[in-house]
Subunit: 186 residues, 2 copies
């Protein structure tokens, strides 16, 4: 949280995203994404992690996982996971996530260079000064062009330098993003 | 790699690590750790990702996973994963990882504050100036005290600020570490 005055929320988007062949799909929710994102979010003081999927079965799966760790056996087995999952909310679409998040700046993320994308230190500074953000992360092969068009902006792609390779898992991308925006780098 | 002259290798250690009750155990290798670490390593220009486990069955599992993605069906299905996994090597213990890595500085990582731990910007600078490092990451509840004692030093714990919570997955911790040491933060 450092001294950020703004709130940072994130959304893990399972629809609409691209598959390998650039077709629009709804990807599957995974247990590990939920845990990794919740733990990273709680570590960095993120407000809410929205899990976005229109598929009712998948929404129920998320509720089941959360129930296991919050009220079931998992709650006594591992308190840290119980606590982390309190930041998670399920949404059927991005409009609902926006509504729940309230007025804030919505930014998309992706691995490709885009004109006019925002530099990480600038968004970090805006957060620190009090602006609140909802940052969207796409599963599978990433957020569709329409999602980018609907956002107030996009963050610069995460770069590891001139390695000729840029294929982070969404779990890695979220962790790095939170560290860039909220981490104490000492 | 930005303009780092030193080489950065990492090791994912499955033994010796602590379990929840601070007993020394060998943890299980997971498919997703392998993929996430390999993809992050390749994105940031890491030299080698050592997967350390003394359990022969587990070593074979790693070889099988790598075979699937490098020569089997996975190799044609997803070239990016094939390429990422070229950085992975299996080792039976840390001594073997050190031997394969050659002369460099070995650092441990963990979530707890430790006296004399190294600041991230300092290690980034040493890398940039030409020093090579092997950085150890513990699975389960972290590297044992003996591992810390055998290393040349330890990195400061990753901090997300005063959130009262610090329980990142090892996948998140590795991704953030690589970004702190090798990322281009613009």
């Amino acid at each position: 949280m450092v001294s950020s005055k703004g709130r940072l929320d994130i959304a893990l988007v399972h629809y609409p995203v691209y598959n390998k062949n650039r077709q629009e799909i709804a990807s599957a929710v995974t247990n590990l994404d939920l845990h990794d994102l919740a733990r990273a979010a709680r570590t960095y003081g993120v407000g809410t992690v929205y899990i976005v999927t229109p598929i009712v079965d998948q929404q129920e799966l998320v509720a089941e996982i959360m129930g296991h760790w919050q009220d079931g056996y998992g709650a006594t087995y591992n308190q840290d996971r119980k606590e982390a999952l309190t930041v998670v909310k399920v949404c059927s679409d991005l409009a609902q996530a926006r509504e729940l998040a309230g007025p804030l700046t919505v930014l998309a993320t992706g691995a490709k260079e885009r004109e006019g994308s925002l530099a990480w230190p600038d968004v970090r500074e805006r957060l620190r000064e009090g602006e609140s953000f909802l940052i969207l992360f796409g599963t599978a092969w990433g957020l569709t062009r329409e999602v980018f068009a609907e956002c107030e902006g996009a963050l610069a792609p995460i770069s590891g330098g001139d390695t000729g390779y840029n294929h982070l898992s969404v779990r890695s991308a979220v962790a790095i993003s939170l560290d860039r925006l909220l981490g104490q780098h000492n």
